[in-house]
């Protein structure tokens, strides 16, 4: 039986749905469980028989979390640092990635590897030099200081990922734009970036999430008197003898919320919305 093209496509659609539903369940079930747990009091979590749905749902965990130990302030600090990090990484990353993608110069391959070197060393061991540097520069416990530390680690990520996307855009398109009278910078802004929107958006999301959730540097480079960020606040709940599941999961749910918002905003850019006339002739 020769399948028509239409039927083949339907088959693939069904397969795709199957894959997506399976992966979706795998991905979302633990999140769902986290959310359900956050609505239970601790006595209902640590039980001999597992309670699936909360028999006595309560928002107490959220209330306690929000009221406790300056969470709103910590959220704000995280938001500021994340926003700054994304901005710097994108600005610096786009220019660097573009150059590495388009131009050939002798140390190019080595330079690409060089950017990655800082990520190849475990962050825990880089703490001390960075800690000292920030103290000496007077940037300890400041938004700028933490942003500086984050961008040092996330710029290589931005460059590598953005370069990957820039590589997939044919250079002929910029040549065409230049023939039409654009400067090189203009070509980047008017031709390359719009085409690379999915890639830029993906990079922005990655940077934002990494900065938002980062814990180790936030712990070591901030204090509660200064700009403590929320992942530190979350870890503070895990004591030597305490592991309050309710509070911890509530914290997890709260933490996802801003990211979800950010992602929803950026979603449209991730979808291929532009129809681009291909280079003809």
């Amino acid at each position: 039986m020769i399948r028509s093209r239409h039927q083949t496509q339907r088959l693939y659609d069904v397969l795709a749905y199957g894959v997506l539903l399976g992966a979706f369940t795998f991905a979302v079930f633990p999140i769902l469980w986290t959310a359900l747990t956050s609505l239970k009091a601790n006595a209902d979590i640590v039980t001999a028989d597992i309670q699936y749905l909360p028999l006595r749902p309560t928002f107490q965990n959220y209330a306690t979390l929000w009221a406790q130990a300056g969470f709103p302030t910590m959220f704000l600090n995280s938001a500021i640092v994340t926003a700054l990090t994304v901005l710097v990484c994108l600005a610096v990353g786009i220019s660097g990635a573009y150059s590495l993608s388009r131009y050939r110069f002798r140390a190019r391959a080595q330079l690409l590897l060089f950017y990655l070197v800082i990520r190849m060393f475990p962050a825990v061991l880089l703490l001390l030099p960075i800690f000292i540097a920030l103290r000496v520069l007077g940037l300890y416990d400041t938004h700028i200081g933490l942003t500086l530390a984050y961008t040092a680690f996330l710029t290589p990520v931005s460059i590598w990922i953005l370069k990957g996307f820039f590589d997939t855009i044919p250079p002929e398109l910029e040549d065409a734009a230049r023939i039409d009278g654009c400067t090189r910078a203009g070509a980047i802004l008017r031709v390359v970036l719009p085409l690379a929107r999915p890639g830029v958006a993906a990079t922005a999301v990655l940077i934002a999430i990494s900065a938002w959730n980062e814990f180790l540097f936030a712990l070591m480079l901030t204090t509660s008197q200064g700009i403590r960020t929320w992942p530190v606040g979350l870890q503070l709940m895990v004591g030597e003898y305490q592991l309050p599941w309710g509070l911890l999961t509530a914290g997890g749910v709260i933490s996802i919320a801003p990211i979800l918002l950010f992602f929803a905003l950026v979603q449209r850019a991730l979808v291929r919305g532009l129809t681009l006339g291909a280079v003809k002739g």
Partner: protein, 437 residues
């Protein structure tokens, strides 16, 4: 056109210039040379003390934070011109943050110190010698010498005890009654009870052994109960191979041979053994006084379901470790006010306030004689343990030895991967390395 090489060179120079400016490390006092706080003159008037006191702690739970708040308020009432700035540090990362501060600057004026961490913190030059202050202190009479033992290194005192964690045992009084067993006082009785109370069909196990993080402590206690010390008075390795092997064999066979321990033992840390006990899976639990409130809340304080006992006595020794939480100084910018804060924690009123919030056992003998402690039936086991119990052996590097040598080898014996003989061999080698370097 600028040559590429010159470009790279000039940016490298610009970059390194900034780097060199950034990399001047702080001078760190060599270990062993302790920095003393100046001895206090005649008692300073409370109103005369001013300024701020910084304090690092690892309190986490609601009750602990509540206790801290009350204690801080009482301090403020006493010393109206001094402000205490408490910094809450996540417990698992405390040493990392402290180490960073020692090397790079930013040590707190005062800090909470657990007995396990004290040797390491002192060895890296992070703590101030308090001996002279303690010697002339009026609370000294209520704090016998052995309470300072964990905080004394080479005759110098580095911390003031604020509360205690007394190792004891919880047991399911109702199960024991049901089975007609008397609560165990010796290792033999303990093993017997554990085996009798194990019933896999009811998902019941006699003993909730801790085989993950922290479990090395219990094993070390058992080893000492069999008559093998860890280090001698001079701090040199002194493990007795035969006795230690017997101890490890006895302890691990509770799981490997008698199956009286839940199968999840090698991943069971504090959270898991507590869950096991409070959900009715295990009959006996080895922990300390700090968890009394949690257990009471879960099982009901007067329900008759649980009771407390001193740890059972081993064939050669009766070990019941008492570890104190200390407060010490790290960078006393405001020495007299800092000392006032440390002194405050040892005051009987403060200790009672804290006891009421957290249930943590007081360090001051005066408070132990208080009715609130004496009348509480559960505390009887702690009071009795204080008669024979003392600090666990701790030396610079002991935490690391416990976590990276003792624990994995213990787990491998439990898993059946190696025999107790080999495990003890590895532990002794590791101990040598830890002490001698």
């Amino acid at each position: 056109m600028m040559r590429r090489r010159d470009f790279l060179k000039s940016s490298a120079i610009a970059g390194s210039g900034l780097l060199l400016a950034a990399c001047a490390p702080q001078a760190v006092a060599p270990p062993g040379v302790s920095q003393s706080s100046a001895p206090t003159p005649a008692a300073v008037k409370p109103a005369a003390l001013t300024g701020t006191v910084s304090y690092w702690h690892t309190f986490t739970s609601q009750s602990e934070m509540d206790g801290l708040a009350k204690v801080t308020k009482a301090f403020k009432d006493k010393y109206p011109n001094v402000t205490v700035n408490s910094e809450n540090v996540p417990n698992s990362d405390f040493m990392a943050k402290f180490t960073l501060a020692v090397q790079g600057g930013g040590k707190p004026e005062t800090t909470m110190i657990s007995s396990v961490r004290l040797p390491d913190m002192a060895a890296m030059g992070g703590l101030i010698d308090l001996t002279s202050r303690v010697a002339t202190w009026d609370q000294r009479q209520y704090l016998p010498d052995e309470r300072f033992k964990d905080a004394t290194i080479n005759g110098k005192i580095y911390g003031v005890p604020s509360f205690a964690f007394v190792n004891w045992m919880y047991y399911r009084a109702d199960w024991f009654k049901e089975a007609g067993l008397t609560p165990p006082k010796t290792f033999d009785e303990f093993q017997n009870a554990a085996i009798k109370l194990t019933d896999p069909s009811k998902n019941r196990f006699g003993f909730g052994m801790r085989g993950a993080g922290g479990g090395e402590g219990a094993l070390i206690e058992v080893i000492r109960s069999f008559g093998s010390p860890i280090v001698d008075e001079k701090g040199q390795p002194a493990m007795d191979r035969q006795k230690a092997t017997d101890a490890l064999r006895w302890f691990s066979e509770l799981f490997t041979k008698h199956k009286a321990v839940p199968p999840s033992v090698t991943n069971d840390s504090f959270q898991q053994i507590m869950t096991g006990f409070t959900t009715g899976q295990t009959a006996m639990l080895w922990h300390h006084t700090g968890s009394l409130i949690d257990v009471s809340t879960a099982l009901g304080a007067d329900s008759g379901k649980f009771g407390t006992l001193p740890r059972p006595a081993g064939p050669a020794a009766h070990i019941g470790d008492v570890s104190y939480s200390y407060n010490g100084m790290s960078d006393p910018k405001n020495a007299d006010a800092d000392w006032a804060w440390l002194d405050h924690w040892a005051q009987p009123d403060t200790q009672i306030t804290f006891l009421e919030s957290t249930g943590y056992f007081p360090s001051s003998t005066k408070v132990v004689e208080d009715a609130r402690v004496q009348k509480n039936p559960y505390y009887a086991a702690a009071i009795e343990t204080l008669k024979f119990g003392g600090p666990a052996p701790a030396f610079a590097g002991s935490s690391n030895w416990g976590l990276t040598v003792v624990l994995p080898n213990f787990q491998r014996v439990l898993l059946g991967e190696i025999k107790p003989e080999e495990a003890i061999e590895n532990m002794m080698k590791g101990l040598d390395k830890a002490v001698k370097g």
